[in-house]
C-alpha cells in the first residue's frame, strides 16, 4: 500500500516537475516520462504481490471534507486492474518519451499524462465515494486535456467537447448511485455500502449507465471513437487500453456490493449479455467501415468492451442460476480479457502511432507496403492483430476460449434462462471473431502489405529504439499470456471469489477443468508453432537447391499494374459493409464519370456514428430549441419586469395566505 501511494505521489510530483521544466524540453521529458516509468515499476510490485495471494492492505484516514475519508485498499480485484494500468502506462511513457519529442506544450502533456495515470490508480484504490469521485473526475479532466492537446483543429475541439459532456453526464449517474448506496449506513465508505432488494435494480441500472459511459457501452460510446484518435498515440493507448476499463472496474465493484445480500435477478445477466452482444457487433462492424486507423482501433475497443461485458453477463447469470462454474469461467474470461485487451490494444495503438509518426497520415487508403520499411512495427502490429482476432496460440484466444467454455457450459445446463443467452454468446463471439478477422486483415493488409498507395509512405522510416522497445515488450506479452495461460488464469481466482461471493478455493476447483483445457490447448498451440517451424525448414531445404526468381505480381494480363490498382481498404470491406449497410448508414458522395470522355470522377464514403448522428445530435438540438422558445422572458421592458414582481407577490399572498 505504501509503495502504491508513493507511486501516486511520485506521478503527481514528476508531472508538476515536468510542467515547471516546460522551457527545457529535454528535462521536461526526463521528469515526466522518467517519473512515470519509475512510479509504474514501483507500483507493479505490490499489485503482483496481491495477485499472487499476498495480504490485502488498506489504509483509513480521516479527511476534512463532507462525507470524505481517505480510505484506500488494494484487494485482488483492484490488483487485477492495477497490473495493466501500471504496465501499460509505464510502457506508454517509454514510448511517449520518444514519440512526443519535438512537440509543443510538452510539459502540459506530461503533466496531464502522469496525472491521468495517478488518478486511474486512485480510482482503483479508493474505497470512499468522495475520494473515488475526485479521482474519477481528475481522470476525466486530465484525459480531456490530453485529448484536446492539439486544439487548433476544430475536429479535436469537437471531440474534446463530446468527451467532456459524456464524462460529466456519466459521473452524475455514478454520483446518484453512490449516494443511494451510502444511504442505509449513512456513510460513503465502500465497506459500509448496502442495498435494499427493492432498490437493487435501480442501482444496477445506474451503475450500468454511469460506468458504461466511461467503458463505452453502445449506445453510450459516442465519445470514444472521437476522443481516442484525437489524443497522442501513447495517450490513446492508455485511454483505450486501461482507462475505459476503470468503467468495467466500477461496474464490478458495485456488482459485488449489490449481490452481497441476495443473488442477482436473471434479467441483470440478460441485460449485460445483450449490451455485450450489441457493443461487440456494433463496434466491430463500425471498425470495419473506418479508414482512419486509430478510429478503427477505437471502435474495436468498443467491441472488446462488449466481449468483456459478455463475460460479466455470463458470470452474473451463473450467480443468479446458482451455477458456480458458469460464474467462475465468465468472470475469469472477462478479467483475463481486460488484461489481454490492454496488451494488444495498447500494442496496436502504439503501432498506429509509429505509422502516423513515420508517414504523417492515419488514413489507411494512403498507406501500404510499410512492412518492408518498418519491419519491427510491422511484425509487432501483426502479432497484435492476430491476438485481437483471438487466434491461437496468442492471448486473445485464451480469454475467448474461457468465454466459449463458460457459454458451452451454460448451453449444456437444462435451464433455458441461462442456456438461451449462452447460445447468444456463442453466436456473437463467433460472428465477432469472423468480423474482427476481416477488420484486422484489412488494417494490416492495407497498411503494411502490397505497394505504397501514396507518397506519404515513400520516406517512411522505422521508429527509434524507445518506441520499438515498448512495441516488442507488448508483443511478447501477447505471446506469453497465450502460452502460459494455465499459470496466469489462477491469479484472478481470488478476484473472482470476491465477485461471486465464493471461497477462492472453490473458485479454483471450478476453474480446474478450464485450466486443464488451457494447458492442453497451449500444448497444441506449441505444437502448431513447432509444426510451422518444421514446414518452413522443409520448404527451405526443398528450395535451397532450386531456382528462386523474383518477378512482378501476376497481373492477369494488364499491361502496367500500378499501386493505385490495388484493392483499397474500402473495397476490401465492401461486401461486409453493404451486408450491414442498414446499421452503418454509410454516406456516399459520388461524382460519377459523365460523357464519352469523362474528366474527373470521384467516389467517397464516410461512416459517422449512427447513434451520434441519429440520436444525440437531434436530441440536443431539440432541447436547445425547446429552451430557446422560453427566452422571451427576458424581453428588456423594465415595466414588465416590475409586473413580474407584482404578480409574484400577489400570487404568493393569495396562494399562501388567502
Amino acid at each position: 500500500m505504501v509503495l502504491l501511494l508513493i507511486a501516486v505521489a511520485l506521478l503527481v510530483a514528476s508531472g508538476i516537475a515536468a510542467l515547471l521544466a516546460q522551457a527545457v524540453p529535454r528535462w521536461c521529458t526526463r521528469c515526466g516520462a522518467g517519473g512515470a516509468m519509475v512510479a509504474c515499476t514501483l507500483g507493479l510490485v505490490p499489485s503482483v504481490r496481491v495477485l499472487l495471494g499476498g495480504s490485502v492492505e488498506s489504509l483509513h484516514r480521516a479527511w476534512a471534507v463532507p462525507y470524505g475519508a481517505f480510505f484506500v485498499e488494494a484487494d485482488a480485484l483492484s490488483a487485477v486492474f492495477l497490473l495493466p494500468i501500471f504496465a501499460l502506462s509505464g510502457l506508454a511513457a517509454v514510448y511517449g518519451a520518444e514519440y512526443s519529442r519535438g512537440q509543443r506544450r510538452l510539459g502540459t502533456s506530461w503533466f496531464f499524462f502522469n496525472l491521468l495515470v495517478g488518478s486511474m490508480v486512485m480510482v482503483v484504490l479508493a474505497r470512499n465515494a468522495v475520494l473515488f469521485l475526485m479521482a474519477w473526475e481528475v481522470m476525466a479532466l486530465a484525459s480531456f486535456f490530453l485529448v484536446t492537446l492539439d486544439d487548433e483543429q476544430a475536429s479535436v475541439r469537437q471531440a474534446g467537447w463530446t468527451y467532456l459532456i459524456a464524462m460529466h453526464l456519466g459521473t452524475a449517474f455514478v454520483l446518484a448511485l453512490f449516494i443511494l448506496l451510502g444511504r442505509p449506513a449513512g456513510s460513503l465508505d465502500f465497506d459500509r455500502f448496502a442495498s435494499s432488494s427493492t432498490s437493487a435494480g435501480l442501482l444496477f441500472l445506474l451503475a450500468v449507465i454511469g460506468f458504461g459511459t466511461k467503458a463505452g457501452f453502445v449506445p453510450l460510446h459516442v465519445w470514444l471513437p472521437e476522443a481516442h484518435p484525437a489524443a497522442p498515440s501513447h495517450v490513446s493507448a492508455v485511454m483505450s487500453g486501461v482507462m475505459i476499463k476503470t468503467g468495467i472496474y466500477g461496474l464490478l465493484r458495485v456488482l459485488a456490493v449489490l449481490t452481497a445480500s441476495a443473488a442477482p435477478p436473471v434479467w441483470w445477466g440478460w441485460l449485460l449479455v445483450a449490451i455485450g452482444v450489441t457493443s461487440g457487433v456494433y463496434g466491430i462492424v463500425f471498425a470495419l467501415a473506418q479508414r482512419d486507423l486509430k478510429r478503427l482501433l477505437a471502435y474495436s475497443s468498443v467491441e472488446n468492451i462488449g466481449i468483456i461485458t459478455l463475460g460479466i453477463g455470463i458470470g452474473v447469470l451463473g450467480m443468479s442460476t446458482g451455477r458456480a462454474t458458469l460464474s467462475a469461467l465468465g468472470f475469469a474470461g472477462a478479467l483475463l480479457h481486460v488484461w489481454n485487451h490492454a496488451a494488444f490494444k495498447g500494442l496496436l495503438f502504439l503501432g498506429a502511432g509509429s505509422v502516423a509518426h513515420a508517414t504523417g497520415t492515419r488514413d489507411v487508403e494512403e498507406l501500404g507496403g510499410l512492412l518492408t520499411r518498418m519491419p519491427w512495427t510491422g511484425v509487432t502490429f501483426l502479432i497484435g492483430a492476430l491476438a485481437i482476432c483471438g487466434l491461437p496460440p496468442l492471448n486473445g484466444f485464451v480469454s475467448e476460449l474461457l468465454l466459449y467454455l463458460a457459454a458451452l457450459d451454460g448451453a449444456t445446463v437444462p435451464a433455458a434462462a441461462a442456456a438461451v443467452p449462452a447460445l447468444g454468446v456463442i453466436a456473437a463471439l463467433a460472428l465477432i471473431g469472423g468480423l474482427a478477422a476481416a477488420a484486422f486483415t484489412k488494417a494490416f493488409g492495407t497498411v503494411f502489405l502490397g505497394e505504397p498507395r501514396s507518397g506519404a509512405v515513400a520516406h517512411a522510416h522505422e521508429s527509434g529504439p524507445a518506441m520499438r522497445v515498448a512495441l516488442i515488450v507488448l508483443a511478447t506479452a501477447c505471446g506469453l499470456i497465450g502460452m502460459l495461460s494455465p499459470l496466469i488464469v489462477p491469479c484472478v481466482g481470488s478476484a473472482i471469489a470476491a465477485l461471486s461471493h465464493d471461497s477462492s478455493a472453490s473458485v479454483h476447483a471450478e476453474m480446474a477443468t478450464a485450466v486443464g483445457t488451457l494447458r492442453t490447448s497451449a500444448l497444441v498451440g506449441g505444437g502448431f508453432l513447432a509444426l510451422v517451424g518444421l514446414v518452413v525448414l522443409a520448404r527451405r531445404r526443398l528450395l535451397s537447391a532450386r531456382s528462386v526468381e523474383a518477378a512482378g505480381t501476376w497481373d492477369c494480363g494488364y499491361a502496367q499494374p500500378t499501386a493505385r490498382m490495388q484493392y483499397t481498404a474500402a473495397s476490401f470491406a465492401q461486401p461486409l459493409t453493404t451486408l450491414f449497410g442498414g446499421l452503418l448508414r454509410t454516406q456516399r458522395d459520388v461524382d460519377a464519370p459523365r460523357g464519352w470522355f469523362p474528366r474527373a470522377a470521384s467516389f467517397a464514403t464516410t461512416t459517422p456514428d449512427v447513434c451520434g448522428q441519429h440520436a444525440y445530435t437531434p436530441l440536443f438540438a431539440a432541447i436547445g430549441r425547446g429552451l430557446g422558445a422560453l427566452r422571451w422572458l427576458q424581453h428588456g421592458e423594465v415595466h414588465l419586469y416590475v409586473l413580474y414582481i407584482a404578480l409574484t407577490l400577489l400570487v404568493l399572498l393569495v396562494w399562501r395566505l388567502g
Binding site: 427576458q634 424581453h635 423594465v638 415595466h639 407584482a646 399572498l653
Partner: protein, 215 residues
Amino acid sequence: MWTDTLLVFLALSSLLLLGSSRLTRCIRIVAFQGVVLGALTLAVHRDGLSVRPLLLAVAIVGIKGVAFPWVLSRVLRAGEVRREVEPFISYNVSLVVGALTLGLSFWWSARLPLPMPPVSSLIVPIAFFTTLAGLFVIVSRRKALTQVLGYLVLENGIYAIGIGLVAETPMVVELGVLLDVFVAVFVMGIAIFHINREFDHIDADRLAVLRDWSA
C-alpha cells in the same frame, strides 16, 4: 375620524393619479400625498402631541411633499419633453383596474386579523391599495418619470401602513428609511437627467437594448 378622512384622501388621490394625463398634475398629486402622510403621522397620535411625531411629520412633508416634487419638476423642465403621461393602458381601464385593486385589498386585509386594535379599520386596505396602485403606475406608464412617481406612491402606501400600524419604530430607523428613500429618488433623478442626455426621449419603454430575446 381625522385618520379615516386622511386615508380616504390618500385613496382618492391614488385613483386620481391613475386617471390624470398631465405629468405636472401627477407630480402635484404625489406632493399632496406627501402632505397627507405628514398629517396622518400627527393624526394617529391621539394622545396629545409629543415632539417626536411632530418632527417626523415635518421631515415627511419636507421630503415627500416638497423635495421630491421639486426634484421631479426640475427633471421635467430639464428634459423638454411632451408633458403627457403616455400610458400603455388607457386612463379608463386604469381607473377600473384601480377600483378592482381597491376591492382586492379590502378582501385581502379582511383575512389578516390584526393582533392589536388598529387606529382605523381603513388603514390596512387603503395603504395596501395605494401600494398596489403605485405598482400599477410603474407597470402601466411609459415614461421613466412616471415610473418614479409610481415608486413614490408605492412608498407612500407602505408608509401609511408604517405610520398606522407601527406604534414605535425608533426614530433612527425612521429617519434612516426616509434618508434612503430620499437618496433613491435623488439618484433616480440623476439617472433620468443622464437618460435625458443620452437619449432624445425619456421613455423607459425604449430602454430595451439589453435583452436575450428579439422578436
